[in-house]
Symmetry: D2
Subunit: 319 residues, 4 copies
């Protein structure tokens, strides 16, 4: 199960070699997807196709290295938690944000209520549902969806991000567990806004339509410390990017974060729509799309591909 | 509470500047220690002096930058978990090690039994007591204490590490919670060796006498990917070092690991004896010693000092 | 703390003696109330007066033995769970009722979510909030509040029971934890009705105005196996009364049920409004009212009084 | 699954009728045993025969009503917890006993550690492993096994109770979970004696050889408030019997206690060896033996038989 790769010896700046490695990673991802299962948390998600797979790697050159289904749009799901956190840091600041949500990994599943009702009134971190709902309750007091969508487009360097209305309606109709989380937070005096308004925004942000290219763009903005390398625009303060990356590293892949840290070693965030965003400081953004999920609800193909790329190109932050 | 430092602008290779920053960090550590409390898990620990504080930073030049109580020996406590993991990876291999222990942060306290009895039969990771005891059960079948001590000396590049017998006896006398963990693991068929023999080795490894310099050495070996930069000897395979660093990052500071990742951003491991080891790839090992602990059982002074150094010298892995 | 009473030797059919014992119990209750605290779960409850205390004991003679504040109306709170269960058994039957809720004590607090999200999807029993909400979801499909109120009046042999509107509004405004429970049940596909409608009925039933006499009446109907001893009317099938009493015994006083069973030994149910209903088969209904609660949220005075009566009159079911 | 029996109309003092009902119960027990499974917690238990079944009902006449395997000896297992509690009440008193163990049902499995490490340092009640081990730690300071065995013989009115040595050795060899519980209690400063000595006594008491007749005897002593009805000897104070019965009612059948209370309604205690002891105040002791257990680890046949007897003979305490 655990494979210790032998390192290939080649020049990591040789674009031809990199393209070859990403191509191999694509094939690994396609193979691994065969062992995954499409999510069925909500009916709309269950429509995903298990054999879709795509990978896109983007550097500051602007020339993407892309294989497979990189244009196909899918719902961003939990990857929106990164955007929500970024918006909170930008518009509310570090102190205000972390006065209302913690920074610790939980070891529990993404939608767990357990710790919230036993260990701490504050959600453990912004990467689990409770934490993201908490952050959305704060944002709901200062921003509406159009403003959040505008920020998401800037943060992902993708003006074509739209609300996927069927997914949003499906989320909203079946979101009772998230409603339970919101009301539990409210009952503890922790939630900072109206539960209905909060959840509506939360569901909408989970329902943004992105593709693997969007995620590569987002990863590249993170790699460039919050600056759009093409327009030069500073979307978000570099210190906040550091915070975001650290939380992606410790909490970004649900209860598989620790193993992903060991096996891939890149700040990343997954969503049950099949996406994973990864970032390589100063160099790359990587987006993968594969709706066939493993038993921890992470994209089976995405993880396989990222392992290959990280090993062969020596991208692990602890290399 | 949370402070976003403004970066100083200076040359990070200017040793005079670095010495100045570490000196400031030392003073921060001394101040922060005033708000901490010496551990009393075992009687011998309670003898620690709350105003002891020292910091040592060591690069491949071999010239330590040191302030305060850096020669004073204290018990390594949980930092030995890094040595145990390293020994397991070296002598048993990656697959064998992680067939018997997980890689996930728990979100629980270091000596929690909760997840072990509800979520998973395998201990969540090697940095909590249950995981370290599990690893020691495997090592107990192939090594005795003298061999482990020899490995510890090589791994810490410090031949003067000895067993602190009073601490060992105190650990052994008061180690009933660890006995409970060992027997719980045995009852699940998870423990790989005899509980008594396992615990004896575990207690002994917790009772090794180290000082801040030892920890700086250990951090430097990690920074040099397992190679002793002075003798050139390869103590442990570089790929294993990557694994160790990743687990230190996600799980190294008990249930403060996530916040430490955000605020400091260096693979580190703390012990209730007051030590913290940190590592900066290719450049530095850092050891701090301050027995006054914060409410998460981490050295209050050590954390304050490491925050200062990481910010001013831009050492955060996600900078 | 625990007192083993010496039994008085007297004729338990001597009404004068019984009156004397109940009088002593009243004084014990008044004393014990001084060490309790009025509930503040909802603002309206916090208006309760800590030194109110009353006790009423009623046999089939119809002559109450009453001391103190037995006419004063207060909100029934959790004691309504007994009425809800009775209605469910009567109108939906035993099988249907217990297909959707368990029969086991939890060992947790009355409003705990823990087991619901870890051990079982079905609420553990009808005497905790989750179980009562579950039962109300079933009833909400076949009855409206007026019908439930009618049943409550018959079950308590008290036509003057009314909705306490300020308490109901206060419950409704501050009932977010109960909303969380309802949505969690809905997310698991367990809840049988609309959450809003369910909670509205649940809050209304918690807000019924009763007094100690009402509770004595209710206890007497239970003692008479569901038959109104004055009108002769059968309100509910005797076999259901047996079920209700058993669940009151094992689960009726929150996480103090076991101790209450040992110290008092009567099927009873408490509410945070300060009421306790108890029943002595074939003989008595007992109602107590004392809003000063102990640390387990049960009426401090009520428990003290019931201990005295049970011991002196040998009413413990296991005597 | 849940059956509401129609009551037979006959004279409950007609011994011929009672014998007929117990005979039917025996047949129900034999049938129900076919759906159970013999325990395999320890190798010796796994040797039990799934189709063994016997029932014995004994009144003060001394003439047992017995069917099936009522002479066959088996290990008492958790039913010894009743004897341990009785010994603690008799030799240490009520206050001392309940200063070190609680009285609350847990809602968890019999060998759960969960609550012990999260809710309370004291074991929840004497009927779970943690509580019984705690009680044994107290007894271990004042009694040896021979004295406990003597008490057990008096309490069960059976001089032929012996230690089943193979079961004891098997318990001792495989008792690591109980060792974990003992050391956890010790680490909290709760355990009152030496863990090894405590566990040795605990394992021995679990390994007493009894048969269905022994259990009927024990139930009869409980029915007679602690007095041996044949010799007239007072084995234990009546007030303590009341306490024991109450705890048997709320906690006696593991996490099936609540349902058993509803369906049978008699103070009872089960063991994984296949025994159940039940008691009917002033009238009967009932012992059943059927090693085929249901999914809650209670004797499938025993429960089926007891349901029948309780319903037909109207023995439910809340009838």
């Amino acid at each position: 199960m655990y494979i210790t790769y032998e390192r290939a010896e080649f020049d990591v700046n040789d674009i031809g070699e990199i393209r070859r490695v990403v191509g191999e990673a694509y094939h690994n991802g396609v193979e691994a997807s065969k062992h995954g299962r499409v999510a069925d948390y909500i009916p709309e998600l269950a429509k995903g196709k298990a054999d879709d797979f795509g990978i896109c790697m983007l550097g500051t050159s602007g020339e993407p290295i892309a294989f497979g289904d990189v244009e196909k749009r899918f719902s961003i799901q939990s990857i929106s938690k990164v955007i929500n956190l970024a918006a909170s840091l930008k518009f509310l600041g570090f102190r205000e944000t972390f006065s209302h949500v913690g920074m610790e990994p939980t070891g529990d599943t993404f939608n767990s209520i357990l710790k919230l009702d036993t260990v701490s009134d504050l959600p453990f971190n912004p990467m689990i549902n409770a934490g993201a709902i908490q952050i959305m309750s704060m944002l709901s007091n200062i921003m509406d969806f159009d403003e959040l969508l505008g920020f998401a487009r800037a943060f992902c360097m993708d003006d074509k991000i739209e609300l996927n209305t069927p997914v949003y309606l499906s989320e909203s109709e079946t979101g009772d567990r998230n409603r339970a989380i919101a009301y539990l937070l409210k009952s503890k005096g922790v939630l900072q806004g109206d539960p209905d308004k909060t959840l509506d925004l939360y569901f909408k942000m989970c329902s943004l339509n992105v593709n693997a290219k969007t995620l590569a763009n987002m990863g590249l903005l993170l790699a460039c410390r919050g600056q759009n390398p093409f327009s030069g625009k500073h979307v978000i303060y570099p210190g906040y990017i550091r915070t975001i990356k650290s939380l992606m590293f410790t909490c970004g892949l649900y209860d598989e974060s620790g193993e992903f840290g060991v096996m891939v070693g890149l700040p990343s965030k997954s969503g049950v729509g099949g996406g994973i965003v990864s970032t390589v400081s100063d160099r790359w953004g990587i987006g993968t799309f594969g709706p066939a999920l493993n038993e921890k609800s992470n994209s089976a193909g995405g993880i396989a591909a990222l392992k290959h790329i990280s090993h062969l190109l020596k991208l692990n932050v602890f290399s």
